[in-house]
Symmetry: C2
Subunit: 234 residues, 2 copies
């Protein structure tokens, strides 16, 4: 029967949910390498081997957490951006950047898991790439909206021109998240995007220790500077 089968499935889904929740809490306090299947099992009052009925390996559990992380930061960015007036492109950009930073500061270990060094020996599976693009979609939308509205500033010719080999990449980006945007702005968007995460990572991983004091204010300035690479307006 459907009802009974789903009853079974339901308790299974609930257990999976509980495992990931406990795992995420452990991840938050101990970090990725401190996440222990046995500890999760202990906290659930199970024996460690029982976990393997739900996750085939520790790596698989980590993959689930990574996907959750992408979705969490993606949701945060989407929400922050949606709260801005659509025409305020610079404001949307800054809000989205701040959302990334705030989420990273609130969940440093999850950020490290998702955007830091990949866990050695761990290869990101297919199913991560969808959620991974969620924040990128938002940033792309902002830049694309601004460009299509004719709101982007004219950019000086770059010192090192956009390489011709980037053309197919830009075309692919136009097909997805950067509709109608010319190559050089698509390239700038990627640079700004990665630069943003460099800014966050440097702050989070301690490279700004004894260098930058008021990190929130500095971040705003940096995020705006990176945005200006794409011609985002004042």
């Amino acid at each position: 029967m459907n009802a009974s089968r789903t009853a079974r499935e339901r308790v299974r889904a609930e257990l999976i949910r509980e495992i990931t929740e406990i795992a995420r809490r452990q991840l938050a306090t101990e970090g990725a390498t401190g996440l222990s299947l046995r500890a999760v099992a202990r906290e659930m009052g199970m024996v460690s081997s029982a976990i393997y009925r739900y996750f085939p390996s520790r790596d698989d559990l980590l993959t689930t957490l990574i996907i959750d992380g992408y979705n969490a930061v993606g949701a945060a960015v989407e929400k922050a951006e949606a709260a801005c007036p659509p025409q305020d492109y610079a404001g949307r950009w800054l809000a989205a950047c701040r959302a990334v930073r705030n989420w990273a500061l609130a969940h440093p270990h999850e950020y490290a898991l998702v955007y830091g060094s990949p866990v050695p020996g761990y290869q990101a599976p297919e199913r991560t790439i969808g959620p991974a693009s969620r924040p990128a979609v938002v940033f792309g939308k902002i830049i694309g909206d601004a460009y299509r509205a004719g709101a982007t500033a004219d950019l000086p010719a770059p010192r090192v021109p956009v390489p011709a080999s980037f053309a197919p990449d830009a075309a692919r980006l136009r097909d997805t998240i950067l509709e109608a945007v010319p190559d050089h702005i698509a390239a700038a968007a990627l640079i700004a995007w990665s630069g943003l995460f460099g800014l966050v990572s440097f702050e989070l991983f301690g490279q700004f220790e004894n260098v930058v004091t008021d990190r929130a204010a500095f971040f705003d300035h940096g995020a705006a500077g990176l945005g200006s690479l794409t011609g985002l307006p004042a």
Copy 2:
């Protein structure tokens, strides 16, 4: 006696050197979490507990490797930059950026250890901060040289101005690696610096998978774009 004491010290230093060398080789193949004190001991024909005569803990060995990593990337950047004509500020910048990327591609696990997520539970000790600044010094020197030579372009007023709270930070930077450079260029230097590592990290950690094809060419373009944030000339 001095001679005999140094004889003792010498074999000790040699053993420490051998341990770190084997550890670095293991780090290169297995990654940070795969580095095992016992495996190092095995490879040396020692028993695992003997390692503890030379390194108080695995974290301490990792710290040594981190310092070596900073020094290695620092040396690579210094060498690449020194090979350029001193007046060719843009060329020096690009060469330094390429040196970082090339070193990272050649030593991905060491790069991840040094600039990726800090190993959880591991707090960077004092003795890492000196070597950590070595690459930064080079980048600072390039930007400072260009500015003091009057070779930097005038920058448009940033959309989000440099925060007043950054002034003491800029002063501190002027005292060390960015002599005479005004606040807004010092801030831009930090942004470009962190952005550079964002670019390298994104490439190395797979965020550019299925997005950027010709990564070397794209990197050159991106590095130049980041450099232009500081007003580096064409």
